[in-house]
């Protein structure tokens, strides 16, 4: 019991994921600044932002709409991100959960933050938030099938095993999945799915800052918005880690391999940041078409290649 609470609250769970995610968020902003020939924010900037929102600012509740659901939605999103983080990070640090079938549980837990953003935005009673909520819903519909096909491809590739620990062990015994043609295709699909899940620029349609004033988050202020920031930090760490666990061999925690583990996370975040900095925001129609037609096509080609043994 105490060990489980420790797992959930401190080491691979809440605290560790949040702190690492905050540093990754700084890395993302610093790379963005360097791409634009700027100097960029200081190292502790994500912590300043978080504590300012949590401790200093006032939380305003909507007059119309439902204040209770409005406040519960950020709590729910932190909970979903933390649960998904525990299930992803425990196998990555070579601690077996003994739970067969956790890939599907992770898949469902990873959608909880997006769903709670929708619930919170619709509970706020703001018309722009409603527009953002409906866009987020359409975005979820378009990328979830692709994400499921990615997981199906991984399950086929490691011989019908449904738990993340076996996926990592299979790769560490043999070669990483990304070393084959189907692995590269699945990596491209995975990167774009993560981009959409994190709401980074080509797919930040739901929270378009200049167009609908932050969309789903328009009414959030103070500590409720701090919890949403926290969810974003956690997601920025666990989604790249999930991709690394699925395709890039997981982490090994002895000697020089710790450095490789850190580098893998940084490289995946770097790819996400560069995509974010070199693309404009697309329309929701284009996003749906991109996922339903092109990304699904790539994923299906990868699955066909896997069934022929590539």
């Amino acid at each position: 019991m105490a060990v489980n609470l420790f797992y959930f609250l401190v080491f691979p769970g809440f605290l560790f994921a949040a702190v690492t995610g905050a540093f990754l968020s700084w890395f993302d902003r610093k790379i963005t600044a360097r791409v634009q020939f700027r100097k960029g924010p200081p190292l502790l900037q994500p912590f300043y932002d978080f504590f300012k929102l949590l401790l200093v600012k006032e939380t305003i509740l909507p007059k119309q709409g439902s204040p209770l659901i409005f406040l519960l939605a950020p709590v729910l999103s932190v909970f979903g991100a933390t649960m998904a983080g525990v299930f992803i990070l425990l196998p990555l640090f070579n601690i077996t959960t003994g739970f067969k079938g956790d890939l599907l549980v992770i898949f469902y837990l990873l959608t909880i933050p997006s769903f709670s953003y929708i619930i919170g935005s619709l509970a706020s009673g703001n018309p722009l938030a409603a527009v953002g909520g409906s866009r987020e819903m359409k975005l979820i519909i378009s990328y979830e099938l692709t994400f499921l096909l990615l997981i199906a491809g991984i399950i086929m590739k490691c011989g019908q095993k449904f738990d993340l620990y076996s996926v990592i062990q299979t790769q560490q015994a043999g070669s990483p999945f990304i070393g084959s043609i189907s692995g590269v295709l699945l990596f491209i699909v995975g990167i774009f799915c993560i981009q959409a899940k994190l709401g980074l620029v080509p797919f930040d349609i739901a929270e378009a800052e200049t167009e609908i004033n932050e969309g789903v988050f328009i009414e959030y202020s103070g500590s409720a918005y701090a919890l949403i920031k926290l969810t974003k930090y956690i997601m920025l760490f666990i989604l790249p880690s999930f991709l690394i666990a699925l395709l890039m061999n997981g982490f090994r925690l002895n000697g020089i391999n710790i450095l490789w583990a850190v580098l893998k996370v940084l490289v995946v975040v770097l790819v996400l940041t560069l995509i974010r900095n070199t693309n404009p925001r697309i329309k929701i129609k284009q996003a749906i078409k991109f996922f339903i037609v092109w990304m699904n096509l790539l994923a299906i080609i990868a699955i066909v290649l896997i069934s022929f043994g590539n």
Binding site: F37, K39, Q45, Y48, V56, E58, E214, E219, Y220
Partner: protein, 137 residues
Amino acid sequence: MGFKEYCFKKSLWVFHFGGASCNNCDIEILDCLTPRHDLERFGILLAGSIRHADVLLVNGSINKRDKERLIELYNQAPKPILVVAIGACGCTGGIFAEGNVFAGPVDKIIPVDAYIPGCPPKPEAIIAGIVKLVQNS
């Protein structure tokens, strides 16, 4: 200086309200956020929604229609909020002070924490004003 104040000063998110402006001040404010002056070094970001803002930048002359919107915006902002009046029109009314639709400079409508005069103020002047605001608040 406590931990809370330190975090607040290191992460000021600004929201930009343009009154009946000639747009020169708007352009100079945007210039502060471009790569050349880079206010993100100090943690200053442009917020899309007033609910996320810590600083309300007001520029341009405030006429009778702007007055209602400015008061509403000030009431919608989460406290503590700092208000900065930018440009001659925001500080005193400038050449519009005699006009019949003019509804008074910003500090007659909402409390103002800092004034940055100039027509328009240079980006360096705006940065200096923000620095003084952070040091004195």
